[in-house]
């Protein structure tokens, strides 16, 4: 049994890692939880965001946090275009079609990246990449602490957007009753695309906050997709607060799993949680049927 001197830092490290997971899951909960689009391309699109941040930094010297002003809007535009140009057209409104389209998209994006960027893992080196913040005797990497705060801010913005704006109301209306939303004059295609765009913009935010402490490679999204789905299911579909709490829980479970079971078995806990939630609380911690 590890002593507190290691347990507390491990839990805190898990919380910061969990915040990174939550950032990825926030976009997914909007797309998957609200619009019921099973977006298998989520990981591949995160990878695109990470490459954008990487090249902005390496080619133009743009700090990843300054990229927050550039990459999320670009990712929003990409998401909007993908939804209107490909997913809607190829999906014909059928869930199984949409699932296959996003799966196909992910394969195309990953293989194109593999061709263009090779399978190298790339990192950026910023002056603060290895800075630490001391909290409760634990040395936490500064980029992860920033990502932790960033996850809360992003969740807050999304919550305000969904509950206080016309777009948010339209999205929620669409999620509850598609035909009804159409009948009251909501441009459903536009709102679908806006939602998808917002979800992908979240990935842009995640990419900017992730890269200072992480890497990018064509396969980087794989590790995040399953975890993000787990978080969405754990937190409750469509719940931003749920995604945040879910992400933090998963981060801590992973950290403690690594500590008690070893690095190779550490991730088992995440998928045990996934299965248990599906069996005993399919609506998730904060979810409700929509």
């Amino acid at each position: 049994m590890p002593d507190l001197a290691i347990l507390i830092p491990s839990v805190l490290n898990g919380l910061t890692t969990g915040a990174l997971y939550a950032l990825v899951a926030l976009g997914l909960t909007l797309i998957y939880g609200v619009l019921h689009i099973i977006n298998f391309a989520h990981g591949a699109l995160l990878m695109i965001g990470l490459y954008a941040v990487y090249f902005l930094n390496v080619q133009f010297g743009v700090d990843p946090y300054v990229s927050l002003l550039i990459v999320p809007p670009l990712m929003f535009a990409l998401g909007y275009a993908l939804q209107r140009g490909i997913i809607t057209r190829a999906g014909h409104g059928r869930d199984e079609n949409i699932l296959l389209v996003t799966l196909g998209l992910s394969i195309v994006i990953e293989n194109l990246s593999l061709f263009v960027f090779k399978s190298d893992t790339r990192v950026i080196d910023t002056p603060y990449s290895f800075e630490v913040v001391e909290i409760l005797g634990a040395f936490l990497p500064l980029p992860k602490v920033i990502a932790f705060v960033g996850a809360f801010v992003t969740a807050g913005i999304l919550w305000v957007l969904m509950s206080r704006t016309d777009l948010g109301k339209a999205i929620r209306a669409l999620a509850k009753e598609r035909k009804g939303a159409k009948l009251v004059g909501i441009n459903t295609e536009h709102v679908y695309a806006m939602s998808f765009g917002l979800g992908i913009a979240c990935l842009g935010v995640a990419a900017c906050l992730l890269l200072p402490s992480y890497y990018v490679s064509p396969q980087v999204g794989h590790g995040f997709v399953l975890i993000a789905f787990t978080i969405v299911v754990l937190g409750g579909m469509g719940s931003f607060v749920g995604a945040l709490i879910g992400g933090l829980i998963i981060g801590v479970v992973e950290a403690l799993g690594g500590l008690f079971l070893g690095e190779s078995l550490g991730q088992i806990g995440i998928f045990v949680i996934f299965i248990l939630v599906l069996i005993f609380r399919p609506t998730g911690l904060l979810g409700h049927k929509v």
Binding site: I6, D120, V123, F130
Partner: protein, 410 residues
């Protein structure tokens, strides 16, 4: 197709008469040698992980091998074959054994005469196995697993040391260093990467260290790539070992060393065995604070050899960091070229035979006389290095040492 049509227009006998007379004329009149029939080139397949998680090392290997090929060609090629030039065929294993093996198969189809591969042990195992199917001479440049040369493959050779010898050497020298300091190190933790090289090295060290009175209190395996070592480093902090022994590739080594510094780990020494970065000028230059005092048991050149220093200078003039990948791949090509020279042909059996009887002078390495047994050069050995004042110094064996060991770390 066009060529076929053209040649059909020439009567074969006339063609032979004309060219035969012309050739005879040239020979008699003593035309410069350059216009004589050029000997066929000798194709050397270079298969390295030039992309993927160990791309840095793979590219270093490729550069080292290409430098050797350029140097050999500039010096007149393979003289016993009329000055045949070495021709590189390049392959990328992407860090994956199956892709490495597929590259060998492709090159064999394309008529390769020999292979130099594959940096990582797991890749070298696969490439040599594939090359063995056609008995194609295969020289392993870096891969340290002893399995590479204990499978009885008649085509597989290694001029550098394997991890059995390296682990033995590392433990013996650690014992010497520790005893000289009054035996302050009594416990150790091994952090290793998950593939054949890391796991094999860790197993050997776990067996040998207790014999020297150093208890291995934990062995932690990690994946490639790993981008967060916090958990592992927290475990190191909790266990407080006297020695931390990493055995991993460059990226992970750098991250581990930096995370240890970030988490303010205190140990009496960091003693790597085949540490991917500890004997790497890039690491020392980019992260001098994290690198200082780290000891390593690794491949190295003879710092007292003028030839080695000239090669180092030549590599650095090309903008290369002179890492072990560069000079081991360079040596592998030299060893191969020497075999072609003595075989006097590209006949696979003859080249394999020449490799198996190689006695090449490698005094630019800290090796004993070259003697192949089962494909392994018995003269090969590693050295101990330590990062001191921002430079890499050899601390053992004494005959090659450029500085004294500093242990425990300050």
């Amino acid at each position: 197709m066009t060529d076929d049509k053209k040649s059909a227009g020439i009567v074969r006998r006339d063609f032979l008469k004309t060219t035969g007379a012309a050739a005879l004329g040239l020979g008699v009149t003593g035309f410069p040698a350059v216009l004589r029939a050029q000997p066929a080139s000798v194709k050397v397949g270079l298969i390295h992980p030039v992309s993927g998680f160990i791309a840095f090392s793979g590219n270093q290997c490729r550069e080292g091998a290409l430098m050797a090929i350029a140097d050999i060609n500039a010096a007149g090629g393979i003289k016993s074959m009329g000055g045949a030039q070495l021709e590189a065929m390049l392959g990328d294993s992407q860090g994956k054994p199956d892709i490495g093996a597929a590259e060998v198969a492709k090159m064999t189809e394309a008529g390769v005469n020999s292979i130099v591969a594959g940096y990582a042990s797991s890749i070298s195992l696969a490439t040599s196995q594939e090359a063995a199917k056609t008995n194609t001479p295969h020289v392993v440049d870096v891969g340290v697993s002893d399995k590479i040369v204990t499978r009885g493959l008649p085509n597989t050779f290694r001029f550098g040391p394997g991890y059995g010898k390296i682990a033995e050497f590392a433990v013996d020298n650690l014992d010497t260093i520790n005893k000289a300091a009054g035996s302050p190190a009594k416990t150790a933790m091994i952090i290793h990467e998950e593939s054949l090289f890391g796991t094999g090295t860790a197993n050997l060290l776990s067996q040998k260290l207790p014999e020297k009175g150093i208890e291995v209190i934990e062995v932690i395996k990690h994946a490639n790539p790993t981008r967060d070592f916090t958990n592992i480093v927290l475990q190191i902090k909790a266990k407080k070992p006297d020695l931390i022994i990493p055995a991993n590739y460059y990226n992970e080594y750098v991250l581990l060393a930096r995370t240890m510094r970030q988490q303010r780990v205190e140990a009496k020494g960091i003693y790597s065995v085949l540490g991917g970065a500890a004997s790497n000028y890039k690491f020392v230059k980019e992260f001098p604070e994290a690198a200082e005092y780290i000891m390593d048991c690794n491949h190295w050149f003879n710092p007292k050899s003028d030839v080695a220093l000239q090669r180092k200078a030549a590599a650095e003039a090309k903008g290369l960091v002179y890492t072990y990948e560069v000079f081991l791949a360079y040596n592998a090509v030299l060893g191969l070229a020497d075999a072609f020279e003595r075989a006097g042909s590209t006949d696979k059996d003859a080249v394999n035979e020449a490799l198996s009887t190689s006695t090449m002078d490698m005094s630019y390495m800290p090796y004993g006389p070259t003697k192949m047994e089962g494909g392994q050069n018995q003269g090969a050995q590693p050295v101990n290095t330590q990062v001191l004042n921002g430079d890499i110094e050899v601390i053992f064996p004494k005959e090659f040492a450029s500085a004294d060991a500093v242990f425990p770390m300050k």
